[in-house]
Structures are given as structure tokens and as C-alpha cells.
């Protein structure tokens, strides 16, 4: 693998093919400057990205898409379908297990990023959107449990209401109102989660994968000689 690694400059952003005036042109230039195609769809990656732990990012994304896909089938067929159809029950099982995988992958991803201090280098918003994605997903999962139309839903609705009522949220968000929970689960929360996930991915592509910190006393570990690295700023204070 080592022979594949080469010292390269970061990809040069493609020039805006047709500089134009007006708001549209300004927006296009902004997009090209912020996220050129080479960053959005790169065909190289930094040499230090060489651990299985990185897989949990793309696993989280693909599990999220699987959750959305299986949920879409359940939504198309209607809320009661899975109770009366063997196929529906299987699709519900797919939805359940994709959620379990999604939350597991995302948790591992978050824990790994914590230990990598992945917020370094103007990546705080990447961290924040990641935490938000986990929180919104957990809340979406709760509403999913509430619309199952079985004993689980009944019990969770009557228990979850107490916590939400205690902080005033229950006045507007009624866990026992099936219609309200259905709309939150299949429309509002997936939309919010999707926006956050897309935002998170664009931030990752824009800032790149966080580099390893230099070990104390090892200034050379901060990148090539030409890189604007500062050993003291990147140092891991052992």
C-alpha cells in the first residue's frame, strides 16, 4: 500500500467555466469555490485514511438510505399493511433492522470521531451536524415506535408523554395522537434528518478528513515540508 502513496498537492479547484454576473452567477461562483467537483467526488484521498473505522461513515449513510427506502414502501402501502400481510411484516422487519444498523453504525462513527478529535481544523460544524443527525434520528425512531399500532406503541406513548409533558413539549407534541406522530415520522423528521445528513456530508467533503495530530516532539508528522503545519498547534499533549 505504501507504494501507492505519493506526495501531492491538494486538487486544484476547477475554474468556473462561464463567469457570469448577477445573483445566479455569484451563487455559481460561490458553489464552485466552496465545493469544487474534485472535492465533492474525489478520486484520491489522504494517505492517512487507512483504517476500518472510516467505513462506519459510509455505512451510516447507506443504512440511512436503506431506512428511507424500506420506510417509503411501508408508507406507500399504508400504516396497517404490515399487520395483515406477510410481505408487509417482512418489509417492517427490514425497516426495523436497518434502523438498528443505522443507529449502531452512526454511534460507532461518532465515538470514533470523538477519539480522533475530528472537530479540529474548522470542522466544529461537521461535528455538530453529526451529533444533530444522531439526535434527530433517535427522535425519529421514537415516533416510529409510536405508530406501530401495537402494544409497544400504546405503552411507549403513555410513558413518553410524561417526560415531554414535564418540559411543556407535550402541550404541542402529543405522543398519543397517532395522526400527528404519523406525519412527524414519515414527513417532517425524515426531511430534517435528510437535510442534516446532506449538510454533514458536504462539510466532510469541503473540509476533508481530519488529519492525525502530530505526536509531541515530532514536527515532521504534521504533513509535508510545504504544508502550512504548525507542530505546536497540532500537537497531542501527552
Amino acid at each position: 500500500m505504501t507504494d501507492l502513496i505519493e506526495q501531492t498537492s491538494p486538487p486544484e479547484p476547477m475554474p468556473d467555466p462561464e463567469p457570469a454576473g448577477g445573483w445566479t452567477g455569484a451563487l455559481r461562483r460561490r458553489i464552485f469555490e466552496t465545493l469544487p467537483p474534485e472535492k465533492l467526488l474525489p478520486d484520491t484521498q489522504p494517505a492517512y485514511v487507512a483504517s476500518w473505522i472510516y467505513v462506519f461513515g459510509v455505512l451510516s449513510l447507506t443504512a440511512f438510505l436503506t431506512v428511507v427506502g424500506t420506510g417509503t414502501v411501508l408508507a406507500l402501502k399504508g400504516a396497517a399493511w404490515w399487520h395483515v400481510s406477510g410481505t408487509g411484516h417482512f418489509v417492517n422487519s427490514l425497516h426495523l433492522w436497518s434502523v438498528e444498523l443505522f443507529m449502531t453504525f452512526m454511534s460507532v462513527h461518532l465515538i470514533a470521531k470523538f477519539f480522533m478529535a475530528a472537530w479540529r481544523g474548522k470542522r466544529a460544524m461537521t461535528w455538530i451536524t453529526g451529533v444533530l443527525a444522531l439526535g434527530v434520528s433517535a427522535f425519529t425512531a421514537l415516533t416510529g415506535y409510536l405508530i406501530q399500532q401495537n402494544f409497544d406503541s400504546q405503552w411507549i406513548a403513555t410513558q413518553a408523554k410524561d417526560g415531554l409533558n414535564s418540559i411543556g413539549v407535550g402541550a404541542y407534541f402529543n405522543t398519543m395522537d397517532y395522526g400527528q406522530m404519523l406525519i412527524w415520522h414519515v414527513a417532517l423528521l425524515p426531511l430534517v434528518a435528510s437535510v442534516i445528513v446532506i449538510w454533514h456530508i458536504l462539510l466532510v467533503r469541503r473540509r476533508g478528513v481530519v488529519p492525525p495530530p502530530a505526536l509531541r516532539g515530532d514536527a515532521s508528522a504534521s504533513g509535508s515540508a510545504s504544508a502550512p503545519a504548525s507542530a505546536s498547534a497540532q500537537e497531542v499533549e501527552a
Binding site: 474548522k122 400527528q180 499533549e237
Partner: protein, 313 residues
């Protein structure tokens, strides 16, 4: 770890390797779909039928009648809940803040009216039941309280079995509750509770609150290890995986003062609000953001990188 934002080296200054992002995505997607299908085929998903008021009233008429009596005399959990259902209690308190009370009563429930009188009024009744309802409505609050108190005591003495209650001065209460039990066992009470909201039904607040005021739903949840003291928030029926990601939330309910305080729910939410904010803004919190250097897992993650760097030097 300090952030050192302005001095972060460019990721590509460490060298690069070929990478096919689309290929990685497709492989990951296929792998996740296959894994999901295998798990779904192997373990399926739970679907325990919902408890109905009819099944409850049929299997445990004593508990149903006792619960209906608490709705009538205002001693049920719903009747004394406070906001957002009524003003019988101030709601939970976080320090000086009564957040629930500030949000107000947005889903008003008068348990006498909602759970007893409206269902009885919604169907044609026999003359004696009609007379009983009329007598109840005409009586003063003191008289109503005397009837329900006497009947409650008698029901306790009868071991909770309404059929064994000795004759006494209970006024119209036994007849009203017996008719309500009949409607519940016949399966019509659920529909009557739902129809209080109009023609279209999607709000199950009333039947669920009525069910939850009884003891059978909690008993079933206990059997399914879903109770709060059993870490039930993260559990699922039949030992299926539930919501393990709620472990940090349900943890607080297992320890004092959260599990013993009358303000336990709002204390847990307040605590989780602080924990959540700390996690969200962790990059800006000195001390917390330095934990990764104290627990150097990063050395394991980037071991190849550090090995290469060591070889170079």
C-alpha cells in the same frame, strides 16, 4: 486537543492514495442491504397485539370498574395529572420553573365527562340507567363524593369484584359503572371515546389515558420488561432489540434522586439537555475536548500513519 483551526495542515499534504468514492458507496450499500435482509429473515420483528378496552374489561372487570370509579371521583392519574390535561396539579418543576404549567392546558380532559358521562350519553339507555345518569348530574358535589367514596370502600371490601359489593348508599354509581362496563365489554366504548373528537379519528389520547389509568397495561408492560425500573425505555417486547441508544437517557431513571423525585421526568430532561448541549458544543469546551489526547485511541486508528512517519525519521 487544542483546535488550532488556522494552522490545520491540508489533508493532502500527507500524501494521497487512489480512491473510488462511488465504488465504496455502492459496495457499502449492497453490504448493508444484504445484512438487513439476513437479519430481517432470521429474526423478523415483534408485533404484540394492542390491548383493547374490550379485552381489558372482559378479562378484568374489577380493574375496569375500579378505574372507572377513579375517573368518576377524580382520583385517577389522569384526573390529578395537571397540564396539559387539566389544572388539578401544577405539573413538574425544574428549580423555580413550572415549564408544563407555562405551556398551559392544551388537551383538556374532564375525566367524569370524557370517560363516563359522554360514553353513557352517546347511546340510548334503559330507563333505569337514564334515571341514574340524571340523578348523578342533578346531585351536588358533596353528594357525588359521598356516593363514590362509599362505593369505593365497598368495592375494596368485595375484593374488587363489583358483583360481590354489598348493598349500600351508593346512589346511581353502581348502575352507571355497570352500564359502562357493559359498553366496554361489548367493544363500543373505544369508539365512543374516539368519536368525542369528531368523525375522523386519529387521536387516541382518551382511550390510551383510560387504559393507562388501569393496572393491567402496566402489568403487561412489566411482564414484557418494559417498565421504567427495568430500563424499559430501551427494551422491546419478546427480547427483541429496542432502542439501546436511549440507554444514556433511561440510565438516570435508575438512580436517585431521579427515580424517587416527584419531578423525576423534568430532572432527567434537564440533565439530558445539559449532556446533549455538552456533546453538541464539545469542540468549544476546554477539558472535554482534550479527552482524546488522554485516551489516545487515535494512535491506534492512525497507527500506519505514525509508523510511516517513524520510518521516515
Amino acid at each position: 486537543m487544542r483546535r488550532g483551526a488556522s494552522t490545520e495542515p491540508d489533508p493532502y499534504s500527507f500524501g494521497s492514495r487512489p480512491y473510488d468514492l462511488v465504488k465504496e458507496f455502492v459496495i457499502a450499500l449492497v453490504a448493508v442491504i444484504v445484512l438487513t435482509v439476513v437479519l430481517a429473515a432470521a429474526f423478523s420483528s415483534p408485533d404484540v397485539k394492542p390491548m383493547t378496552i374490550a379485552s381489558w374489561a372482559t378479562s378484568d372487570p374489577g380493574d375496569f370498574t375500579a378505574t372507572a370509579l377513579t375517573e368518576l371521583d377524580g382520583s385517577s392519574a389522569t384526573a390529578g395529572y395537571g397540564p396539559p390535561y387539566n389544572s388539578a396539579a401544577p405539573g413538574q418543576q425544574l428549580g423555580p420553573l413550572h415549564i408544563a404549567r407555562m405551556a398551559g392546558v392544551t388537551h383538556p380532559i374532564d375525566t367524569v365527562d370524557a370517560f363516563v358521562l359522554k360514553p353513557l350519553d352517546s347511546v340510548p339507555q334503559s330507563p333505569d340507567v337514564t334515571a341514574a345518569i340524571t340523578a348523578w348530574k342533578a346531585a351536588g358535589a358533596d353528594q357525588q363524593a359521598a356516593w363514590t367514596s362509599a362505593y369505593s370502600d365497598a368495592l375494596d371490601k368485595a375484593g374488587g369484584d363489583p358483583a360481590k359489593v354489598a348493598p349500600g348508599a351508593y346512589g346511581p354509581v353502581p348502575l352507571m359503572l355497570a352500564q359502562l362496563l357493559n359498553q366496554a365489554q361489548a367493544g363500543s366504548l373505544e369508539g365512543q371515546l374516539m368519536s368525542e373528537n369528531g368523525f375522523y379519528h386519529s387521536d387516541y389520547t382518551l382511550p390510551l389515558m383510560f387504559l393507562a389509568d388501569g393496572s393491567d397495561m402496566a402489568a403487561e408492560a412489566q411482564t414484557q420488561h418494559l417498565a421504567g425500573t427495568q430500563w424499559g425505555m430501551m427494551n422491546e417486547v419478546n427480547n427483541f432489540p429496542g432502542q439501546p441508544w436511549l440507554a444514556p437517557y433511561t440510565f438516570w431513571y435508575q438512580i436517585s434522586p431521579y427515580k424517587t423525585s416527584g419531578n423525576g421526568d423534568v430532572l432527567v430532561w434537564g440533565t439530558m439537555g445539559l449532556v446533549g448541549a455538552a456533546l453538541l458544543f464539545l469542540p468549544f469546551i476546554p477539558g472535554l475536548r482534550s479527552i482524546p489526547r488522554v485516551v489516545p485511541v487515535y494512535r491506534l486508528i492512525w497507527r500506519e500513519h505514525y509508523r510511516r512517519q517513524a520510518a521516515k525519521t
